[in-house]
Symmetry: C2
Subunit: 429 residues, 2 copies
């Protein structure tokens, strides 16, 4: 069975895990992704808030497989799949044949039926998104420094994050630290008290996956950073220069949407059944029912655990599923025994709030504050995939921690003072 073709769509945590698991086998592995890099998404918010450089949290996918002759990487857009002929249809490479197909296309932000809000709200999924947020926040400060009209100054210095999950909490905390600590001293006319960071959550508490006590800790820690947390605040409308929450209008320069995700539109490629969040419903081996050679993993999939719960959209789930799919394919290549059904090993979860503030829940142990933050730092440091990123990120962090400095405070892309939203248009794949 030499030369069986495995096509992996997506170079996120899931897709990479499959490819890694097939390195050195007889399979001809092709990774297709529309971007040229693997993104370490858990740290992307630090690029958005100027603490890290883009290359600290992303690596050229191609360079990860330099020494694996059986893995090739195509930067291309997938536009569909023809399951009857077992080919992936791409924008530039034409038809790419597969014997096994792995859909690992990840998730995108969902505006809950208000797609028009995407024009005004920023999201944080791609490197482009992160750079756009960084640019918007830094430009808002620069403009506020020049602005004489108090109402417009107040608007420029108001940053709203929608969604009190882990991403929303870390973004709100990081913007508060960037604004009130790092930048405040550099501007002559901006009073740190003028800066408003609002975190709006529709539910009754932050960090829903955590226990109420940890939600309360996060609320307190954010308040200490100067973040106004609004619970039970449902967004009614998002406009260019502000938004309507339950209790009225807030003028804001920057609105960041972190309120919900949906799987990218891969289910329709194969005519598969999708869950309400768009994830392709898969069996206990991450296979798409009716397509034995097609797998879906990570945020692109919706898998029900043995206990009846739906697996969450987390990096560890995607990685473990990816390793499982690689085992499945290896077993078929060698006519070996199929592995046992996939079971997600939950090692715990963490959410970072700010400098030396986090919450961590390992099931048997819950910790908050500095200890949780240190654990978070260590875990994320070791999770970073290549040595180069690891050492550089560590230096950037150490530097930022000791000096409150931000290294990546650059306005580029000629759009520095533009107020127009810079939402990146993304084609499917």
């Amino acid at each position: 069975m030499v030369g069986r073709k495995v096509v992996i769509v997506g170079s996120g945590f899931g897709g990479l895990a499959v490819a890694r698991g097939l390195e050195g086998t007889d399979a001809e592995v092709t990774i297709i992704d529309r971007s040229n890099h693997h993104l370490f998404q858990p740290l992307l918010y630090q690029v958005a808030t100027a603490a890290l450089n883009p290359s600290d949290t992303a690596t050229a996918t191609r360079s990860l497989f330099s020494s694996s002759d059986n893995v090739r990487v195509l930067m291309d857009h997938v536009i569909g799949v023809d399951t009857s002929r077992s080919v992936v249809l791409t924008d530039q490479s034409g038809h790419v044949a597969y014997d096994f197909l792995v859909i690992a296309t990840g998730a995108d932000y969902s505006f809950f039926g208000h797609d028009e809000w995407a024009e005004h709200a920023l999201v944080l999924k791609t490197m482009d998104d992160a750079l756009t947020i960084r640019e918007r926040v830094l430009a808002a400060f620069e403009r506020a420094e020049l602005e004489v009209d108090p109402a417009e100054r107040a608007r420029l210095l108001t940053f709203v994050v929608v969604g009190g999950g882990p991403t929303g909490v870390e973004m709100a905390g990081a913007i508060a630290e960037l604004g009130r600590t790092t930048l405040a001293g550099d501007f002559r006319r901006i009073d740190p008290q003028e800066i408003r960071i609002i975190l709006a959550e529709a539910g009754s508490r932050l960090l829903r996956p955590f226990c109420p006590q940890q939600s309360a800790h996060a609320l307190k820690a954010l308040a200490a950073l100067g973040v106004e947390v609004k619970l039970g605040a449902v967004v009614q409308q998002i406009e260019d220069d502000g938004l309507w929450l339950g209790d009225g209008r807030i003028d804001a320069s920057t609105i960041i949407w972190a309120a919900g995700t949906k799987a990218r539109a891969a289910a329709k490629w194969i005519g598969a059944a999708a869950a309400s969040n768009g994830g392709i419903i898969v069996d206990e081996h991450c296979r798409v029912p009716g397509h034995d050679a097609v797998f879906a993993i990570g945020d692109a999939a919706s898998q029900t655990a043995a206990d009846g719960s739906i697996l969450p959209g987390l990096a560890p789930v995607a990685k473990q599923q990816g390793r499982h799919v690689a085992r499945m394919i290896r077993a078929q290549l060698s006519h070996g025994r199929a592995p046992r059904p996939f079971r997600y090993h939950n090692w715990g979860m963490m959410a970072v709030i700010g400098r030396s503030q986090a919450v961590a829940d390992f099931g048997w142990l819950k910790v908050n504050g500095l200890v949780a933050w240190l654990l978070w730092s260590i875990v994320h440091l070791f999770l970073l995939i290549d040595f180069r990123s690891r050492s550089s990120v560590y230096l950037s962090w150490s530097y930022a921690w000791f000096t409150h400095g931000r290294i990546a405070r650059l306005l580029t892309r000629g759009s520095a003072t533009a107020q127009k939203p810079l939402v990146t248009k993304e084609a499917s794949s």
Copy 2:
């Protein structure tokens, strides 16, 4: 004389030197620049070729003056100067009054009357320019990997640098190293021999400011890197997908223009006489004749030395002029004695060709090869203005040197596969 207002337009080497020289004085110093960062231009080509991160070669200007209460920074576009009322006219901050004005607006690329070429050729002046080149080069490789038509593959893998001065030489060398060494191993279908890097120089030798022997060394070193150097090659026409040189047409994906600069259009703000390259003609104190309170320095100025030569457009000239202007202003603030006329101290010049290849000319000593490269590295390391950049750049370099790796190989900005030129439009200021 408390509170005399000094306005500096431009935050390059010259402008910063003036501001540094006035820190802690009674003067109220305002730096106006359209970008928010000071650029360490000598290393910008390394950002363009993915060896360094943007923040390694740029620092938020504001952060450089955090602790200087008498220096403020405005990110704004200057649209003119009203010398009769001593105010600078800006786009957003309105009129900014000055007692002393320093024009340090730098230079832009000149297409020698063919401004339409700017649509097709890339330049390297701003951070945006560098990121655009990086994107274009990396995307060309990605597209070539997918391309089946041999002619189009050849075009995609052809990179032309126009201009054999220091910038052209370092760009050609860096692209050759990026393509043939770093990237070659990561692509499955690209044969390093397919990659063409052409350096076109209209004159009879490279690096004209250096001696012919060093020009010859550069030519040989570039050839060893696989760069085709074409001397006496005059550009006739630049088009979207190639260019016409003296000896015919070359299809190319990437054309980088490094053939000539002109001062930015600041002379007309004050109705001053300009040299042929657009530089404001200044006296021996960098003053604009007829405007005792107006100075011009660096690439924005044209100053004749005591020996009758025009000072070159180099960073050390701008810095030394900036320090001189600061002394002039300090003398006037304190009614002290004016300094002696400005004299440029030429400590030598260097041009880097590639990894461990450079030429250096200190007048009394000329060195080539590894020794010159080590000197170049050390000098540029120490010139970097703040510690953070220094340590990080050093690490990036060490890493790249030992591994041939490139850390910043990211395609972002949603334009990865776009073939359309991404030339940044720049307004004046």
